[in-house]
Each structure stands twice: as C-alpha cells, then as structure tokens.
Subunit: 324 residues, 2 copies
C-alpha cells in the first residue's frame, strides 16, 4: 500500500469516530529526528489536528491522556528492533490505535505490532524522495489533505519530485568544501550545529548521531532563535559551528545568527539551502524540504571528517557491544 492509501484507509476506519484528531511521531535518536519536519508541518499547517513528537521511552512512560480512537501513531525504527520503539508501537497497537511503522528492515519485530508498515529507501543509491524523512512528511501531508484539505498539496508533490535531483547536485557541490572542513576541524573537541524551522531536526541529528555518536565529538544543536538568549556567549574565535541557512519563513533567524558569527566568530561552516539549489521548490512548501537537503549534505562532510580523523563512522564504544 502507498502512504496515501494507508492514510485513506485509516481515515475511513475512523470516520464514525470523527476521523484523525491526534498524530504522534514516536521514535529514538535519528528515527525521531527524521520526523521533525512532519511534526512542524502538522503543527503549522493544520487547524484541527494535534501533534506530538516523542522519544519512544518518554511516550511509553508519559503517554498523553487523549491517546485513543482518534489517534494515529507514526513510528520508525531502522532495523525494526529498537526495543523502546517496538514497545511504544505495541502499547498503541494493543490499545486499538492505528500504528504506521517506517522501517528499512521488513519482517522485523516492529512489523508484528504495527497496523501498517512502510519500507523506506536507504544506502548509497537511495532515492531521497523515498527516504524516511519524506515518507514521514508524506504521511503528515496526506493526513492533512484528506482530513481538512491542503491548498499546497500539488506544490508539495512537486517538491517531492525535485528533492532527489537537488540533493544529489548539492552533494557534488560541497565535495571540496567538505574536504577542507574535515582538514580544518579534525582536531576539534566540540562542534555545534545550528538551525531553525522545519529543518532544525537535521541539526539535531547531525549533533547526536554523527558528532556525538559516530565521532565522539562534543556537540549540541542550537536553535538560531535561541542562540541570542544564552548560547551565543560561548562564541569566540575558536568555537566551531556548522550553521544551516534554511529556505522559507525562518531564514531570517538563521541569517541573523550567521551575521553574528561573521562578526564575533571565525570558525563556522555555512550550509545555505539557497546556494545548495533548494529554491526551485515552490516557496509555499520549501521549508519542509530543508531537512532532507541538509541531512544529506552533512553526510558528505561526515565521510570526509571520518577519513581525516581516521575514525570510521561505524566505530562504537557501546552500541551493538554492551547491554544497556
């Protein structure tokens, strides 16, 4: 079934009960981060649907009271076996709530406790339009369009059509920059990421999944609006930042933070969605595509950094190695 068909079936089932009123995106780490644009989409665009964005274990222990017949849980687990995520899906499934699980790994534990399973594209040749992030967004867009209508639906589909080409071009575009970045920052102990709007999730993922997890570099993802209310005081000529300049309504926030870095900082790498070619996507929906662009452009930097630090992205101290 396509995402569109899945959402259509869920809405049909819930029709007698009033349709979909709450959508919870539930996951852990990168799988949670990938849902950030979908959460911002519903939060911003919908007039009738509540949405939440929860770490799986937080969701299990702090389940919203509204959780019931009008609820949809959209969850993701790459290998389909993240214990907390499987448990969260199971909790929802047993309560009779519609669970849509995104996974790369068919026939995994999460598929046993979900009502619908969508597999996504992953790996070197992946189609960005079929990636977890866009699949999650597509579910949110279908929920909105089929529940209350969405004026920019066609624009959104146009964006989905374009994103793969844009990302692949952008990845080539940054190859040399990424190598220079890797040389410059290979000995740093801390690297911050910055972003805003629907693209902020990419900054979160880069910080926790790459710098902290895969490179053991200290990090935090700073919201460019929050930067001026605390975090900016750590800025000096030595502190390193990767800053996302998004396309869409919050671009102004990102540019303001960049101007500050230019004045008081010295070591920052700019990922500008405009420079990276995102602007061919319609303005009405462009902000929701920042995440896919940045997330996949970071990947070029990550490989270069791993090489220059001789610290492969697959190195772990604990994951897959110890019980926790």
């Amino acid at each position: 079934m396509t995402v569109k068909e899945i959402i259509s079936e869920i809405i049909k089932k819930k029709k007698g009960d009033g349709g979909i009123k709450e959508v919870y995106f539930v996951g852990c780490g990168g799988s949670l981060g990938a849902f950030y644009p979908a959460k911002v989409f519903l939060e911003t665009e919908s007039v009738s649907i509540r949405t939440g964005w929860y770490n799986s274990n937080e969701f299990i222990h702090n389940t919203p009271k509204v959780f019931g017949k009008n609820t949809v849980v959209i969850t993701a687990s790459h290998r389909g076996n993240t214990p907390e995520t499987v448990k969260a899906a199971e909790l929802a499934h047993k309560a009779g709530i519609s669970v849509v699980a995104l996974t790369w790994s068919q026939d995994s534990p999460i598929t046993k406790v979900s009502d619908y399973v969508v597999s996504y594209s992953f790996g070197d040749d992946k189609d960005i339009a079929q990636e977890k992030t866009i699949v999650g967004l597509m579910a949110a867009v279908e929920i909105l369009n089929q529940s209350e209508g969405y004026d920019n639906y066609d624009d959104f589909l146009d964006g989905v059509k374009k994103i793969d080409g844009i990302v692949k071009q952008a990845r080539k575009h940054v190859e040399k920059r990424a190598e220079a970045f890797a040389e410059e920052y290979k000995n740093d102990k801390v690297i911050y990421t910055m972003g805003s709007g629907a693209g902020y999730g990419a900054a979160y993922m880069e910080s926790i999944c790459i710098f902290m997890e895969m490179q053991w570099i200290n990090s935090s993802s700073i919201h460019t609006g929050e930067y001026f209310h605390g975090p900016f005081e750590i800025t000096d000529s030595q502190s390193p930042f990767m800053i996302q300049i998004s396309e869409g309504p919050t671009r102004e926030l990102d540019v303001r933070a960049l101007e500050f870095l230019k004045k008081y900082g010295k070591r920052f790498e700019v990922l500008d969605a405009k420079d990276l070619g995102l602007s061919t996507i319609p303005a009405s929906v462009i902000s929701y595509f920042n995440h896919s662009l940045f997330n996949n452009v970071y990947d070029v930097y990550n490989h270069a950094l791993a090489d220059s630090r001789q610290h492969p992205l697959s190195t772990r101290r604990y994951m897959w190695k110890v019980e926790y």
Copy 2:
C-alpha cells in the same frame, strides 16, 4: 487579578466562540525554558487543547495557521523588553488573541502589548510558588480545570503549597556537595545536563543559561531517553554530566541513564528529586514540580562554580554590550 481570574475572564470572553482550543507558550532562552513543564502538562493532561512551545522569533516567522479566536498566547520576558518576545506578543495582541505576559518588570514594553500582565517572584528571597515556572504551570492548570475539568486540581494546589519549603530545604541539603562539585569541575571545558519528562526544561535552562551563557562552558541538555540513541557514545571516564533523576512517570528513564553512567562513566553529579525531598507532593502531580526543584537546586551549584572559577555569573561578552 490572579491567574485563576485571568483565565476565567478569557474563557468567558471566548465562550461564544467555543472557548480555549490552543495555548502557545512563547519566549526566549530561560523564559521559554520556564514554560516547559506547563507545555508538558497540557500536552499530557488535556484531551481538547492543543499546545505549542515556541522560541519567540520562530513563532513570529512560523506562526501556526490555527492561530485565532480560540488561541491564548502565554509569554514571558524578565525585564519585559526582549525584542522578539515583545514583537510576538504584539503580533498576537493585534490579531485580537488573548495574550498573558509574565514579567518581573512592571511598566515595561511587553505590558503595553499584552491583555493581562502577571508579575512573578524573583531574587534571593523569592517565593518559589510565585516564580515564573509555577505561574506558567498555574495558567495551564487553570485553563485545563476551567475548560474540561482536572481531577488532580487539589493535589496540584497542595504541591504549590509545598514547593517553596521543599526547595529551600533542598538548597541547604546540597550546599556541601555543590562546593565539592565546583572544585572538581572548575577546569572542565564541557558539562552536559540530562533529564526527561516535565523536568527536562530545567536541564535545558542549566545548559544554555548557565553553562553556556554565564560560564562559557560548552554544554548540551541530553534527554535521558535519547541518550541511548547517539549521545551515550561520548561517555567515558572523563566526560562530565549533571543528571536529574526525576520523580514521576519518567523516573525509570533517568535511572537507566544513571546506571549506565555508573558503569561506564566516572564524573557525574546526581540531582535526585526523591533524595531532595520532592516526594511529599502527591504522586498524581509530582512530575510537574521537578523543574522548580532542579532549577533552584542548580542555582546553588552555579554560585559555587562561579566562585571556584572566578567567573561571576553576571559576566557577559555580548549581552548588554553589543548590538545583535
């Protein structure tokens, strides 16, 4: 007017339009962080009210479409002059939306663009029950109770009655520990905070307002559920953490992270709400009081750390000094 009276008047005004359906908590930095428990309260307890938690500038540029006659904006600015927050309040006020502003400074710019102003307690002799955090929570509790009813309303008021005494006792309790902490960590370049549930906002504030802003120490606030999905890989015998062990439904998450730190880390400071005396507050509402407890206990550590580092908490590079 009391918070209860303010909410009562707003609900009366909105009665013909269907009452309060959306509550947005809007602020910057510490003023945003202080609203975290109120946001989690409505997100968890309400079956009919949508809630959002926005940085003021994000809210201005990425305003939710639902924003209208059923919306309440609750905002805070300590001196009442944070430009983005004043602008967000003004935007709402001009759109005819009810704006409740929390401020310490009467007669400040934000009071001119808000429908209701609540001043809160601040400073060395402050009453914790009258602090920004509890005032924000009280607004959320009144909105819920007056809109749909709240079974634990009396328990909540009981908690409000007890919190000041608990916090003051807890602050004494940690005095010696805080001095030892300050000695041990005075030369560290990075200190992480960790937390979960409604208390997570205290970890966020400590990270951005104290470590980054007031001590120029690198930091990030790690959610204890997210810790195992990326961030935990930076844990070694040298990496420093301050971990909140909350009371309430997500305690299990915090304890799990602490067990990991005990096994693989060496340098961590534990703030345990149980040990700090929070348990006399009824179990039904206790989680919403973690924030006030932790936030005010951190303060004892912060002063000790500032002394041992000879870096006063009032030192700034940029705030109050340069244009940005």
